[in-house]
Symmetry: C2
């Protein structure tokens, strides 16, 4: 499975999108992340696995707790694909290309 496949797949689930939205406010442990969801921990861990395999989040274990945070620039492949589509789709290549360039130069 290509990377873009994994990323889009990871984003296709509301639980996983919620985790990403939650992580915007800063990193958190697995159980902190799991707390809002009415789901057993192993089930939730699978979602984290999907997000991590897609490169959207990263984590490292500190003692017995695992800390998760957003991966830097994780959504760049998506926004690049999106920009590509929108640009050619809507015939506004110039402005979107500029946007992407700016984004890459200034991440």
């Amino acid at each position: 499975m290509a990377n873009l496949d994994r990323i889009f797949h990871a984003l296709s689930d509301p639980t996983r999108r919620a985790v990403i939205e939650r992580l915007r406010d800063g990193g958190a442990s697995v159980s902190e992340l799991a707390q809002p969801f009415d789901m057993a921990l192993p089930s939730f861990l699978k979602h984290l696995g999907v997000l991590e395999r897609a490169g959207l989040i990263e984590s490292d274990k500190q003692g017995r707790t695992r800390h998760c945070h957003l991966a830097d620039g994780a959504l760049v492949p998506v926004s690049a694909w999106m920009a590509d589509q929108r640009a050619l789709w809507e015939g506004r290549t110039d402005r979107l290309a500029a946007f992407v360039e700016q984004k890459d130069a200034n991440p």
Copy 2:
């Protein structure tokens, strides 16, 4: 399944993304779209079904052929979510908000 779920799911498959990329160049019939893929037609039709249920493409039957085209503004929910994420994530609300505004004002 929410709409964003369906859209992201639809985009998570390379065949379906290729169809979208192909449709940027203009509408096409089912068999024209299917031609590049080494896949039986019923299998391919399922992909078209996923794209259509996600609201990414539309189609109408003319005689015995079905013509498909991109749905207008289909990717807006995605780019809105993306912009939302990137803005808060990267703390560059201003420029991204401007970008989205510009896009909405000038579609």
